[in-house]
Amino acid sequence: MTIPKERHVLVVFPHPDDEAFGVSGTMTTHIKQGTPVTYACLTLGEMGRNLGNPPFATRESLPEIRKKELIASAEAIGLTDLRMMGLRDKTIEFEDDEKMVGMMTSLIEELDPSLIITFYPKFAVHPDHEATARAVVRAVRRMENRPKLHCVAFANNTLDVLGSPDIVHDITPVRDNKMASMKAHISQTAWMLAEMEHKLAQGDPETENWLTKERFYNYRWEDDFEETF
């Protein structure tokens, strides 16, 4: 599927590295097509558990490390508008819900995106992912002229409930950017990347497919995740 040109793309995820696995190839493709792309990353992944043994970081030194990794990932993607929104990892669902909608609404009003990418509510596994998705959907729901809303879903029941993804981007032409984005988050991805590169070297088709295809669902307004907010 060719990726249509957009006016502006807004990507909203809670953690440094959320962008790398599922969306970085799509972001680079938009940027290469001349579309402005903004990534709003809500936290610095302060509560990440990968600290090594022997440890390479502490709970207190991790945020600075992950901030540098996020900036390096943005460079690998080619992204020039990276917003760090200053929330704390694992606390987003406990923030005031209306405040979260307000944060999304100000981003949308400022950037006027024709496409927004976030997680799919109820199919996003991590509580921060879910809270981010809820805030974005609520903000977009209130708009008169809604932009396209592409959602990443990876809960175990995704295929059963949502079916196959509506949109599949082949990002092979920007594969190197994606690999560099994933590698930028090395403190959290080292173990996983080692396994992935081993499988790729063996020519494993499933891993190759996972790497080069990015999958999204259109948000289904007719089957909204809540009746009212």
């Binding site: 440890p55 207190e60 509580p127 173990w191």
Partner: protein, 116 residues
């Protein structure tokens, strides 16, 4: 961080006794535990920047160690502590890292507040 040496850590714990200190205490299995294993019951707790004043702090046992703080009206303890560090800001950071390098528990005390 370095591996806990009971005698050295005990000296550090003693140094904070009787002072108002900010506490960070956390236990976690990670947010994906029930995603990878749906039968897993995921529980954890987190508290940050609550002020306590302990009269007695003790590190006990072989690694992974237990660390307990006796308060005038209560207790704080953590189990599974493997590593510790007195950082550049004079904060005592204790952590339990499992064999794969993942943090499972953290107990930290500081005379100044931890960041947000």
């Amino acid at each position: 961080m370095e591996l806990v040496e009971v005698k050295k850590l005990q000296v550090q714990l003693d140094a904070f006794a009787g002072k108002d200190v900010y506490l960070h205490l956390e236990t976690t299995n990670g947010s994906y535990a029930s995603h990878f294993n749906e039968a897993f019951f995921n529980a954890g707790a987190f508290i940050r920047n609550v002020v306590i004043n302990y009269e007695l702090g003790k590190v006990v046992g072989d690694s992974p160690h237990r660390v307990g703080l006796k308060l005038p009206h209560g207790w704080v303890y953590a189990q599974g502590i493997t590593h510790y560090e007195m950082d550049d800001h004079g904060r005592l950071l204790l952590a339990g890292h499992d064999g794969t390098g993942k943090l499972a528990v953290a107990l930290q005390i500081s005379e100044t507040p931890f960041s947000y």
